[in-house]
Symmetry: C2
Subunit: 223 residues, 2 copies
């Protein structure tokens, strides 16, 4: 009878690729962040502003995940940063194999930080590791403050929560969003998460996010 | 050798349940609408306002799909309408079997219209028939006007598009949303879709939506 070593964890194909991506990124001392949110919460706008404002400080590349179109990759390329578009053609999340392929197309030696902008979906992407160092979840004010309770997985797994579009809180429109309620609900799921309220359009709160990025890139270089 | 009739379409378990639900609803002359959108586009607010304003005209019941919590079912029940909560516990869409079970718990003989509020997700729910007559997709203004191009499937399959939160268009905040662009992009995917720009909070445009509902319920009774 053949003996099987059951202590060895059997990795799925996705986990194998994720591990490979993670090792590759670590070898090149690149910080990799997997950005996850609903459609339209502002991921691409956060990225274009971040790239523009951190020029000369951090060298950023982007892997763009979308079901269809290259709208987002074109927005990123307009900043001058390298961007690789992945079209999932209907699939609701990026896979580590797709990211593995995209990594071969980026100018790796010229980068300190790679953002992966996942498909707009608050549910499925949280279940698929891509090899990133950290997940960053974006929740925008018009989505409502009940979302961490209703979609807990991604808030539990993320290192950073960006609460975007905070300029709408004082715009004189009816919005059900209490920043303190979100902080309390999210910290019940995740004690160590960093929470940055921002407006990527108006610029509010972005400095704290940039400081976190600069510090995290520096730590990746030292590790 | 056994003969197999390959002309007969083999239905998946989900399709079997969807067909069963559809027949059951037709027998009871109930219109059933499957509401699909990203998290936070305003599905529950649309439903509560619609239920309140159509009291005495249409008898409405709701099946609420959420990953976690019964926040939405409680909001519906506060209107006096019957609501059944389904928690998918992580799954990214409702299944027809879950809806089949929920239908046994609603006071069917007292209803003309059942709304199914799907899990907040613009991708996965579009691929799973629940036995509804029509899909209704909700896109809210802060999500941005590029969403039909980026997430085409649900816009291609829906009978109605509700463009929600149009009060934000004139709120003096920076919003990238051109209603005409959305109409053009959506009609490229779906020539017969009905498009109603609304604000479920402020009340704008709701009358046209109510008229469509009243007419569609009437047609269901006659069929």
């Amino acid at each position: 009878m053949q003996k099987i070593d059951v202590r060895k964890k059997i990795l799925s194909a996705n986990e194998e690729y994720a591990l490979r991506n993670n090792r590759f990124l670590a070898e090149h001392k690149i910080l990799c962040l997997n950005m996850i949110s609903s459609p339209g919460s502002g991921k691409t706008t956060i990225l274009t502003r971040t790239i523009n404002e951190l020029k000369g400080k951090i060298k950023i590349g982007v892997i763009e995940g979308d079901i269809q179109t290259d709208i987002d990759a074109r927005r990123i390329k307009a900043t001058g940063a390298p961007a690789i578009q992945i079209n999932t053609n209907g699939a609701c999340h990026l896979s580590a194999a797709q990211v593995n392929n995209a990594l071969t197309k980026l100018p790796i030696k010229k980068l300190n930080l790679i953002f992966i902008e996942n498909v707009g979906n608050l549910v499925c992407p949280s279940a698929f590791e891509l090899g990133e160092d950290y997940k960053v979840v974006v929740l925008s004010v018009p989505e409502g403050d009940d979302k961490p309770a209703k979609y807990p997985a991604i808030f539990a797994k993320s290192k950073v929560l960006l609460i975007n579009k905070i300029d709408l809180l004082n715009a004189g429109v009816q919005i059900d969003f209490d920043v303190e309620r979100v902080k309390v609900d999210v910290r019940k799921l995740n004690k160590t998460i960093q929470i940055f309220p921002i407006s990527a359009k108006a610029g509010d709160g972005m400095t704290t996010w940039y400081q976190w990025l600069i510090k995290s890139v520096k730590n990746t270089k030292i590790d």
